[in-house]
């Protein structure tokens, strides 16, 4: 109960503050993004690969100024961006086929893979905001909605070993028992695309603002977002082969078909992560003198520390 009261008090602190101010900012973010991923499949290894990301956003920030240097408030924002991220790893499958003659063929298929997801994203942000002089700290959730997503999967170092136990012979990477060209690239069908329709991130930003007029400033922030939810969708224990060699069933056309599935069954944990810098231009939309006082306070704090006092 006490915790709830404290949270409510903190939430309403800006409103009960004597001075407050409102800012609107337009910013661009740029950096990298990846997936924090893992697998429980002992025959696999996975790790995220980094891709670039860029976002433009529009924000509204409300501060209540509690002291001459400290303000607390909230930030509402929306943005749209584009980026890529991926997962790479190595995987080995083992399974048995029987040809139309009844021969048993024990397959051991291993390969390296790299899946790259490219997607546009819309996002909405609600963060708690703190200012300490010109230093800005934002912490809070961000709701991200990927759209226009596409994924591609590249298979390298594919090794398809078909073993005939009856004759004790391994056939490796031959057309008649299955072969995959190196650096084979596959477009992932939307049905197999594991990019979630939406995800919730926890984000943190820290930055500095340079005021060059009474109503506007330029800001620079470092930010990081991490997914709250595990977006892995498939149980690795029900995995299908990543590289599937069809049984040889047709005597007139014995070359087996080799198909490549999805890496999603291999991944037991996947969380989105991005980080980078945000540069923005902010201007005041306050009509009362509180903003000016606040600005002057911050400017004065920067230039003449502790000389100024709130009205």
């Amino acid at each position: 109960m006490t915790k709830k009261i404290i949270i409510i008090l903190i939430a309403f602190l800006p409103l009960i503050a004597q001075a407050h101010t409102s800012m609107v900012s337009i910013g661009v973010r740029g950096g990298g993004q990846t997936y924090l991923s893992s697998t429980t499949d002992p025959s696999s290894s996975v790790q995220g690969t980094f891709g670039g990301t860029g976002t433009v956003d529009l924000r509204y920030t409300f501060y209540g100024c509690l002291t001459d240097r400290f303000g607390i408030g909230f930030t509402l924002g929306a943005g749209v961006g584009y980026g890529s991220a991926g997962i790479k790893g190595h995987h080995t499958d083992t399974y048995t086929n029987f040809d139309y003659l009844g021969n048993q063929m024990d397959y051991t298929v291993s390969s390296a893979f790299k899946q790259t997801d490219r997607f546009a994203k819309g996002e909405a942000t609600l963060m708690a905001s703190f200012c300490f002089g010109n230093v800005i700290l934002n912490i809070g959730p961000r709701f991200m909605v990927p759209f226009s997503a596409s994924s591609s999967l590249t298979i390298t170092d594919a090794n398809i070993d078909a073993y005939y136990p009856a004759y004790n012979v391994h056939i490796v990477n031959e057309q008649i028992t299955g072969k995959l060209d190196d650096n084979s690239k596959f477009k992932i069908q939307n049905s197999q695309c594991a990019i979630p329709k939406y995800t919730l991130l926890m984000c943190a930003e820290i930055g500095y603002e340079w005021y060059f007029s009474a109503k506007s400033c330029l800001g620079f922030q470092l930010y990081a977002d991490i997914g709250v939810w595990n977006s892995a969708t498939t149980n690795p224990l029900t995995t299908n082969p990543l590289i599937q060699v069809a049984p040889i069933t047709d005597a007139t056309n014995p070359v087996p078909q080799v198909s490549v599935g999805s890496i999603e069954p291999l991944i037991s944990s996947r969380r989105y992560l991005d980080f980078g810098v945000r540069v923005y231009y902010a201007f005041s939309v306050s009509k009362d003198r509180g903003y000016k006082s606040h600005f002057n306070s911050r400017k004065d704090t920067r230039l003449h520390r502790n000389r100024y006092r709130w009205d």
Binding site: P165, Y167, I171
Partner: protein, 258 residues
Amino acid sequence: MQRKLLIILWLALSVPIMAIDVPCGTWLTLRATAVEDWHFERWSDGNTDSVRLIEITSDTTLYAHFAPNCGDYAALPVISLYDWLLLLDVQTIQAKGYFFAEENVTWYRVRGAPDKIDEGVSADDERMATGYYLTIDQSFQGTGDYYAVVDVSGSPSGLLCTSLMRSELVHYTSSAAPPAPLLEPTMVRPSEPQRLLHLNPDQPTTVTIFDMNGHRLQTLSAKGVERLSIQAAPVAGCYQVLVQNGDQRTVLRYIVVN
């Protein structure tokens, strides 16, 4: 001058013995000549020259060791799958005591008649690949006849062959031609049953089995059959099976190992 006795034995099938009484100090040229399908290996004193010059200074006994050229008779079993893939039946061969690595197997495509391998070198047959299997990324049909040569020198001593051994010949010369007579299996235990397949039932068939010295062991005749059951020889060795099927004459080979 004291006379000395030189006794020379040829350890081949018939084990001939020759004894010569010569004066002490005589120089003699010894020549070890193998009969067909055998080759000279060494003298009992370790000398490996088939022709050598020796001085007789005391009573001397020398043995000439010969070994069969079983490599050409071996007919190691090959599995043909889907007309795309030729596999040496490593499992069966190893079960008979012969061991070899992938790099010890070389595949050839026949040019003209299959080359003899008793010299260890293929003359004009086309070398295709090395390994337990052969595939050419297309159907073998109509591309020629194939065989493998296997170096089994890493196998334990005491086996019938411990040098180069040939696989059975796999025919893909013409897809339109009727299949050639086929003997299976070709690597057998003594008296193990075998099958002779792909006989033309419209033609009389005569099957004659020879040992490595050309001695006829058995003759079978049949008519109106597509397959024939025969029994492998009861003694370890290499054997030829001459199949006369109408005008078609085919020589097949098999090896009996203990």
